[in-house]
Amino acid sequence: MIRAKRAVAAARALYREGLLSESHASLVKAFDALLEAWRPEPAAVVPTDGEGDAAEPAPEPADVAEPIVADAEEQALAAIEKAGYRRMARLRQARTTARELGTEPVTSLGRVEWIWAEIERLTRFSQRQFLTPAAAKRLRIRRIALAGTALVILAVVIGILWARPRIAASATFSTEHPAYHVYDGVDSTEWLLPEASAGWVELRLRSSRTIKTVRLVNCHNRYYMDRAAEKVRVTAYAGGKQVGTAEGKFKGIVEKRSTLDLNIKASGVTRVRVEIQSWFGRGGGLSEIELR
């Protein structure tokens, strides 16, 4: 196989230089090397006849520098056919035509391109067939791992893009406190409203669901400890229709996790809006919204 690969590489390089005849000769050498590789090993093949006696011993292997002999070529072609190569007739025809052309200069690619196509096919087929079990296994594992990784990445992307609710807000204090912080599962990230303003944040669900309780986690603006929501109202909508509402009040600005559970008990909910009607300190905001 290595000789065949080298001959093919040489043929490609010669073709790039515009040397058509030389390229063809190199590909024919590749053809010879491939058939040589497919020829069964004489020691390994000890055919027996029907009575269980060993047949005549296999002939000595031919000198690798000489062209493959006719019966050895037949053995190679038989081995290729046995391995499941599909276009045997075409391959045989290519072999015959290549031999007929011999060392005749090739002036037109159109005349030999089909032979080159068969040699290329045989090279690819041989590379697949001659993989050791370990190499084939490694290739298989690599392909499965690649496909698996791609699927996982796709699933994660789809999950992030389209499985989670969309979040919108009336306003934000800055781009460092965007609305999506209320649904990122991280207490330390917060959505903040502009200074001394009421406002709202809305979760737009991908599909309708039943919600019993909405848990709100208040903000405190990290170590500044100067903002928190006070009075809040939660409204659940099914389409354009309001299906549940509840109001509540936080106690103040605290460093620890400060939660407020509001019972809604609504079904078919597609949107949940949380309005911040008053605030502590410099303004309102929320750390998390949990739907239960």
Binding site: V8, A11, R12, A13, L14, Y15, R16, G18, L20, S23, L27, R86, R87, M88, A89, R90, T107, S108, L109, G110, R111, E113, W116, A117, E120, R121, R124, V157, I160, L161, W162, R166, A168, A171, T172, T175, P178, R204, G239, G240, R271
Partner: protein, 572 residues
Amino acid sequence: MRLLRDFWVILVIAVAVGLWAPLARLEWFTGHERFSYVLRTVEWASELRLGVLYPRWCPDFYGGYGSPLFFFYGPTLYAIAALLTALGLDPLWALKVVVLLGSVLSGVGTYALVRAETGRRDAAALGAIAYLAAPYRIGNLFDRGDIGEFSCIAVLPVVLALYRAAAREALPHRAYVLAACASAAHGVMILTHPVLGLWGSVVVGLVVLASLVRPLLMGAWRRAGALVLAIACAPALVGFYVLPAVAYKAQTQTARMVVGFYDPRHHWITIDQLFEKSIPLFLRNFLQIGPHVAVACGLLVGALLVNRRRSWSAVGWLGLAFLLIASMLPFAGGFWARDRIPLVEFIQFPWRLLGPAALAASVVVGIAAAALTERFDEETRSSLAIAGSAAFLIVIAWPYVSTGQMLAAEVPRDPDTIRRGMYSATDADEYLPKGVPSPPRSPWRELVIRPSGIKVESTQSEGSHHEMTLRADKRGATADLSLHAFPGWKIDTLSGPGEAKLSVNPQGLLRLELPAAGEYRLRVWFGVARAEWWGLLLTLGGCLALLPLVAYGSRFWPLEWRALLRMKGARA
């Protein structure tokens, strides 16, 4: 993976990353485009989050009235940047990642192209770094801020490398697969920037034409045919973008794109200006391709004297560079006149062709260097390649590798800010729908305006999707919507006594018509316009046309199936 073990490829990638690094250190940069790419990315990302994979409508431009900008702007870089933005990355960083990809692709693509021309890694690296160092390529980013054009000239070397590889490949199946890949890459190039995609296609066409000579002389008619098929299929492959853009151009005000400052006949340059450090148009003259081409010429002359056989092919590339430069000179003004050759005037600035010209000159540098140093030993060649690359970077590139900073706080990065700011992401309002006499002056406050016999119960808007509950008091009640009319708007009557219809009012806004009295729940959204379906058909046709190229000689080729059936029949 094998590529990444090549020292020269790593060097090229390192240079590409290094030339991108100034952008990474800034919050955002002060190019001529300012933050228009950021606005467009945010619009795409917000539509993507709603489930629109290929948005055509920018719902927040013009204060929420919207703009059909994505019918006309190449989608590739916005799709990538918007995906990253929708996944949580800041849009500024998402665009920086796209720019980094473009920078690396420029280098690796040119490396592949020159390596195929010369067979030499060191010369390929020199050619690639020469292209990376080209003032126009760098200035396109840091001065103009035209990320789209920057991306287009990043994909161009990949396209040329693939077509050239297909033309020079001996093995048939491999050659046809390369041709198919070249066609696909060519399509991607068109999708990055429509104008330079068109002109890049002309450059690609010229290179492919030259590449056909050898196969034809060798009697390889099928190969030549495959290349022609591949290049013809490229625009068809991106029919889903090209056809709607051409079909709906007349429904916008794109004529504004080619008048006044944007008339290409006002943008010729002189030979002197190609060597000057500063010109009236640009204080830092990144059109300065003169030294680049001069180096290429000098190297080529030396190479032709020393090693004519190896350097002959560079003459064609240099000819291409000269042809492109000549098209920008004053005498070529007539070529760019309107209505003479279709779509020609949309180039706006003929000096955009300096990108492909710099690439051609860089290929000449690589080929000439390979020819000149053919008889040297490996060590000397490597040292000369590295020294040459360093010279290009220090002498030619260095003055251009810097830009001013724009603070992130100054850049609108969310839909609400874009809407309130009345942004449209273009200077000339060329994508304002034709029926709209002038841009609105303030953002809309209500979705449903001027109701006649209609009471608005509720409305809910999200991007280009709007839902409303209305009560009509009479038959034929109407109301206008604060949305610019354009092909693609759809209406769905979710519930109601009849089917609501959309039409256009004299101000170019959507008008709602309710056929009977009663309560209606309606959904109005920007869907797939008719031309998009035809475009998709064209894309499918292009894919089918390329299928024989990919399948030839593979196990999917029809001859294979016949043989397989014959085999199965024989076994039975």
